[in-house]
């Protein structure tokens, strides 16, 4: 019997090959909330973090923009505006008399409505 080899006793925690290492237990406790070593999960967590940060930033920017007073805002008109007619107002006086006569004739032609429909007849009379 070799005296260098220490007596193995189950009671000796240091010698028990079946004993779960305290360090590993404590490490597992410490690393319970640590990032797992799987690269896919790491990537997922990073992307989620970036998304969250962007979300927070967008909320901050939106709140900042809405609180900032607009510098180029136009005043809302209080008066209800009526559209101007597209037709030429008949009292335009700045037309030479000779041209005015011709324009009057043209206006009359434009307003002429030729309405002479043919008679409604029954072509089957006698059948």
């Amino acid at each position: 019997m070799n005296s260098d080899i220490p007596y193995q006793s189950l009671d000796l925690s240091n010698q028990n090959p079946l004993k779960v290492d305290d360090l590993s237990v404590s490490d597992s406790k410490k690393t319970k909330f640590a990032i797992p070593n799987d690269p896919k999960i790491k990537l997922l967590i990073i992307l989620g973090g970036i998304t969250f940060v962007l979300l927070v930033l967008s909320l901050i920017v939106t709140a900042f923009r809405s609180s900032r007073p607009t510098t180029n805002s136009k005043p809302i008109p209080n008066v209800i505006t009526t559209p101007k007619p597209t037709e030429v107002i008949e009292d335009i006086n700045n037309i030479p008399p000779d041209l005015k006569t011709k324009f009057d004739q043209i206006d009359q032609q434009n307003q002429t409505n030729i309405n002479f429909p043919p008679p409604q007849i029954d072509p089957t009379i006698g059948q």
Partner: protein, 271 residues
């Protein structure tokens, strides 16, 4: 006393009895002694008078037909036949007077396109002559078989009558719009030549050529619809509503050109 009677006879004007049929038959499309619009109004009046007579005759025929349908006797059949002849005569007079009035109406704007307008007028007068012949043919019909044959002939010819009528209506309106376009082009030229209107107006006037082209295109589209297609010899193709759309477009463009020219003059005229 004799002197007074003689003086009365010399100075008094003859009085003519109003007769719709004779007044219509003596008229011609080339009458220039009376201004065209007044002549058209007279023929329009004659046409409306004849149309009223036709509607009365048609009502009477409808009643006789209903009685014959109900009783089917020889007497009722004869009454129906006579009523049919009367209604057909009245209808022929109506159509003839309408064709005449329409032919006279074409004179209003004939100067714009005299050749094509004359063609339309010739076609109308051809059918006027045909209806004139029927005033002797129809009263001579004395049995149902002859009447049926005549009705068949009428229905074939009526397709061509409708074609002639609607072609003339489109031609008349196209002539009017063309006249307006010519007037506007003349006004545009007058504006350019007017020394009291600034020369800057010219570049604005030149932009109106696009709308002028649109007017011409719309009028061309309307006239192209009047061309009879080969597969519609026995059936009338009602093209008038489509042609009316094109002509309305042309009229809208003409109004816009008129407005634009007024604005140009208003802006650049030096008082």
């Amino acid at each position: 006393m004799w002197f007074l009677i003689l003086l009365f006879l010399i100075t008094s004007k003859p009085v003519f009895a109003q007769d719709a049929s004779t007044s219509a038959s003596t008229a011609t499309a080339s009458a220039t002694a009376t201004p065209a619009p007044r002549l058209f109004l007279q023929y329009q009046k004659d046409y409306l008078f004849n149309y009223d007579l036709y509607q009365q005759a048609y009502l009477k025929y409808t009643e006789k037909k209903q009685v014959y349908t109900k009783y089917g006797t020889i007497t009722t059949q004869k009454d129906k036949f006579i009523a049919a002849i009367d209604a057909i005569n009245a209808r022929n007079k109506t159509l003839k007077s309408y064709l005449l009035a329409l032919r006279v109406m074409l004179d209003d704007y004939k100067t714009t396109n005299p050749t094509e307008t004359e063609k339309a007028q010739i076609e109308l007068s051809k059918w006027e002559a045909w209806f004139n012949e029927q005033f002797t043919v129809v009263p001579a019909l004395n049995n149902q078989d002859d009447l049926n044959n005549w009705i068949t002939t009428f229905n074939i010819n009526y397709v061509n009558v409708q074609q002639a009528i609607y072609t003339a209506l489109v031609r008349n309106e196209v002539n009017l719009h063309q006249l307006t376009l010519n007037s506007l082009q003349q006004v545009a030229q007058d504006i350019k030549n007017n020394p009291d209107i600034k020369p800057e107006s010219e570049q604005w006037i030149n932009t109106l050529t696009v709308k002028s082209d649109l007017v011409s295109t719309s009028l061309g589209d309307a006239m192209s619809l009047t061309v009879k297609k080969n597969n519609q010899i026995n059936k009338f193709d009602d093209f008038y509503s489509s042609a009316k759309i094109s002509m309305t477009k042309a009229n809208d463009y003409l109004r816009e050109i008129t407005t634009d020219l007024k604005l140009i003059v208003n802006k650049f005229y030096k008082k």
